[in-house]
């Protein structure tokens, strides 16, 4: 049988950077093929070449045994390649139907296209069990549904080869399972699926074959059954990687952070936090699990001092005045011993246009140690100190004059982490510490967080990655719709139980 898609010696470079080097892939029809690799390994570049966003410098592409060229995405669609992007390309205020037709209208008038699409959509829905309401508005439906619309969009365009880029990044475990069911169904119907991901578990769960990329090269192509997560991780990183966090039992002592009856209403009058009560003790990591958007971000914002709230927050026994903390209180809290690794390092944690050394004092820039005198900052000292910090935290390259946006995701996160941890805080707030971070860096970041705990510091960890919560935390709280649904010990619970709590199923029922 001819491979559904075959790449031969694809190369692509951007300036001096070789993003893809002599890539060979061949995927048989009716299979799910995984492509795994760290950030910057060249996965996305490769797929962009397949979808006609980039032109390869060299190499050949074959679809169903025929050599083709893909100058643009129209050409890719014409040969039956469909792409579901990590960030959905949907018009928020259009209906499902309108989004599916967009760009594939059959004539000058819209209504014939729409009615034609409606019947085809019904057929697709029954064929692949992809049910969506064609008249629902995109912004009103959940992320899982939106992803389905993206898949339907590709199928409507007669895609036989479906490429999905990090499809589970925004999904709950249940939604991810549903997606995998859909993908298996599509495979049964003879579609070929290419799944790009950095999650080893997904590769193991669903793919038939897997290719590993590292630094622009294809390091291996394997049958999934013949490999293990450890082997794949080693192929990705180029060395042995510890997948489980190595830590001793926690020795919690005095409470550092105490939260009582914390509630918060956002600018639109929606209640985001509802009577939160929790305590983080010195020497423990308290993990908060939950699907993104259930109040975790707001909790971090309130604690970080840039959203007003009602209730009581005590840090080291002294109460923080929440009434004045509408914004700009962050520096006072840092002085009290709080450090904060925000959820979104590119939006909040770093200024992408600032150099590394400028970012290394962000939030602490008015502290005495960073001042040369009353009026000016001691830039030379900051630069020197930053260079040392970057070396200690293995930031590559350790050049304090490089702009933040020029570092990879993992290295950016290390810059943030270095800044917050090196202050030796009593309490560390960490949001999504390893989002978009490569495996090698994840290991390092987890080690740093555990090391801080072992020094007797309190850590509040918020993450949407259940794996991370379960392996790092000493206690786990689950948040749903602004409320704490329950507390679990990571060793006595499992993903299924936490998944139910995350979906808002109440405590008694979940047990």
């Amino acid at each position: 049988m001819e491979p559904a898609i075959e790449l031969k010696k694809i190369s692509k470079s951007f300036g001096p950077v070789q993003a893809n080097k002599d890539i060979n892939i061949s995927v048989m029809p009716g299979t799910i093929h995984g492509i795994i690799g760290e950030n910057g390994a060249g996965k996305s570049t490769l797929m962009s070449i397949l979808y006609g966003f980039y032109k390869a410098d060299a190499g050949e592409i074959f679809v169903d045994g025929k050599k083709i060229s893909i100058p643009d995405s129209q050409a890719a669609i014409a040969v039956g390649i469909g792409m579901v992007f990590q960030h959905f390309k949907l018009v928020e205020n259009f209906s499902v139907l309108e989004n599916i037709v967009l760009g594939a209208e059959s004539g000058a008038l819209l209504s014939p296209s729409l009615s034609k699409a409606r019947t085809e959509l019904a057929e697709l829905a029954s064929e692949y069990e992809l049910n969506v309401d064609p008249d629902a508005i995109i912004e009103d439906i959940g992320v899982g549904m939106q992803q389905r619309v993206e898949i339907l969009k590709a199928l409507y365009r007669k895609a036989n080869i479906l490429i999905l880029d990090e499809p589970t990044g925004v999904l709950t475990p249940a939604e991810a399972d549903q997606l995998f069911r859909i993908l298996k169904r599509l495979r049964e119907e003879g579609k070929t699926i290419i799944l790009i991901t950095h999650k080893l578990r997904e590769i193991m769960d669903i793919t038939d074959t897997v290719s590993v990329m590292r630094q622009g090269e294809m390091t291996a192509t394997l049958k999934t059954d013949d490999t293990s997560p450890e082997d794949l991780a080693e192929l990705m990183v180029g060395r042995k990687v510890l997948l489980r966090v190595d830590k001793t039992p926690a020795k919690p002592t005095d409470p550092v952070l105490e939260i009582q009856n914390l509630s918060m209403v956002d600018d639109f009058g929606v209640k985001r936090l509802k009577n939160i009560n929790l305590t983080v003790k010195a020497g423990e990591i308290l993990g908060i699990a939950g699907v993104a958007g259930n109040g975790q971000s707001e909790l971090l914002q309130v604690l970080g001092g840039y959203s007003a709230a009602t209730g009581v927050i005590k840090l080291n026994g002294s109460e923080i005045d929440l009434s004045t903390s509408v914004s700009g209180d962050g520096q006072a809290r840092r002085a009290m011993g709080m450090a904060h690794v925000p959820e979104d390092r590119q939006r909040e944690g770093l200024i992408m246009d600032f150099m590394a050394w400028e970012n290394a004092v962000f939030g602490y820039h008015r502290e005495k140690s960073n001042q040369a005198n009353r009026f000016f900052m001691d830039n030379n000292a900051i630069r020197k100190e930053t260079e040392e910090k970057m070396k200690r935290f293995d930031v590559r390259p350790p050049n304090p004059k490089l702009t933040a946006k020029n570092f990879s995701g993992g290295n950016q996160q290390k810059i943030v982490l270095a800044r917050e941890i090196e202050r030796n805080p009593d309490l560390l707030l960490v949001g999504q510490p390893t989002r978009g971070v490569d495996i090698g860096a994840i290991e390092f970041i987890h080690q740093q967080i555990v090391a801080l705990r072992d020094q007797g510091k309190a850590i509040l960890l918020i993450s949407v990655e259940l794996d991370e919560i379960l392996s790092l935390s000493d206690r786990v709280l689950v948040m749903f719709d602004g409320e704490i649904m329950g507390e679990r010990q990571p060793e006595n619970t499992n993903e299924k139980e936490l998944g139910l709590l995350m979906a808002g199923v109440s405590e008694e029922f979940a047990q």
């Binding site: 700009g328 962050g330 925000p342 200024i351 246009d353 600032f354 400028e358 962000f362 900052m377």
Partner: protein
């Protein structure tokens, strides 16, 4: 790594932009029926080969430094202050009140007093839109430009109804006392025995205040924690909030510094040149400041160079209008072309240059 070396970005890109603007202007001059070479010669001779030409050029440059710095400071906070005209007008009012109603014994004291008066008045005038932006979210571009018209009205009222001497038909204040007279470049040259240098040119000691302001702004933006916060807020609001920077405070401070700098332009025009408060003394310098800041890439040194260029264009334009058929308005066209190419179209120049440097890097690798 950045694709281009910094010096290319700061010097070569603006230089090429100006060159393109110059070529287009040359075509325009040919269309009018004059020789562009002769016109350029005349501009250079009238501006750079005579000390009086220098005296005029530096006078304009002083204005443009102040307004250019003002726009730059606001730019760093991602605020577009196009109210420089109004802030300068109100600054002039401050200068006039200080010079007319306080008996100054000597100009050295008077210039300090006038600077404070100008800065405070400009600051207040910029502070109002800043407050509306910071607290109410009224867009600063809209409010500052409307405040220009209000400022013109206020100035008009003061000149016609308050400051105009009795019996005068001219909407202008009385002459300032002679003790407030600022030494011009001619006065200063005479001390060294060059009585004929800079004859009757308006450039005066406030030029040096403008240079000091450049240094002060550089220290503020790149050395002080306040400047750090201004730049942080300008680059990313959410990040600034995370770091505990108060946006309301920073918006207010950045705009008030900007307004103060605009206001200080009036020590050059009002105390230095006209020595009384007159209508329309700003002559569009508040708007030229936007071009100067764009071309100088919001860096004080760049602003200084751009202000010199625009000073040259202003003075050279006057020469052209005097000696050729080329109307003075053509200079406005040339300025517009410079603004177009250095501001709006700078990407047009930058993109091919980036490609060039990329291929250089590739060749090396």
């Amino acid at each position: 790594m950045d694709i281009m070396p910094k010096w290319v970005d700061i010097i070569v890109v603006p230089f090429i932009s100006v060159l393109i603007a110059a070529v287009l202007s040359a075509l325009l001059i040919i269309a009018i029926g004059e020789s562009p070479i002769a016109a350029l010669n005349l501009m250079i001779e009238g501006t750079l080969f005579r000390s009086a030409g220098w005296g005029y050029m530096l006078y304009y440059t002083t204005n443009f430094i102040f307004t250019g710095l003002a726009v730059s400071v606001a730019f760093h906070a991602a605020l577009f202050n196009i109210g420089g005209e109004g802030q300068a007008m109100i600054g002039g009012l401050g200068v006039a009140l200080v010079c007319l109603f306080i008996p100054w014994p000597h100009w050295t004291l008077a210039i300090i007093g006038a600077s404070i008066g100008a800065a405070v008045f400009g600051m207040v005038w910029a502070g109002l839109p800043a407050y509306l932006q910071a607290k109410r979210g009224s867009h600063i571009v809209i409010t500052t430009i409307m405040f220009n018209f209000i400022a013109a009205g206020v100035l008009n009222f003061f000149l016609v109804d308050v400051l105009k001497p009795k019996g005068s038909m001219d909407p202008a204040s009385a002459n300032f006392p002679t003790t407030t007279h600022l030494p011009t470049f001619q006065d200063m040259a005479s001390i060294f025995g060059f009585e004929k240098a800079f004859r009757s040119a308006p450039a005066n000691v406030s030029f040096f205040i403008a240079i000091l302001a450049c240094a002060a702004v550089w220290y503020l933006i790149w050395r002080s924690p306040l400047g750090y916060e201004i730049r942080a807020l300008g680059k990313s609001g959410p990040a600034a909030r995370y770091a505990g920077v108060r946006p309301v405070k920073i918006i207010m401070i950045a705009m008030m510094i900007s307004g103060a700098l605009c206001g200080m332009m009036a020590i050059n025009t009002t105390q230095g040149e006209s020595e009384r408060l007159i209508l329309n003394f700003t002559e569009g310098a508040g708007f030229i400041g936007i071009a100067v800041a764009l071309m100088g890439r919001s860096h004080p040194f760049g602003v200084l160079l751009a202000a010199l260029l625009f000073g040259f264009l202003y003075q050279g334009g006057a020469e052209l209008a005097l000696w050729t058929k080329i109307p003075r308005e053509l200079i406005v066209v040339i300025q517009a072309l410079v603004i177009l190419f250095t501001g709006a179209l700078s990407l047009m120049v930058r993109a091919p240059l980036e490609r060039f440097f990329m291929s250089l890097q590739k060749a090396k690798a």
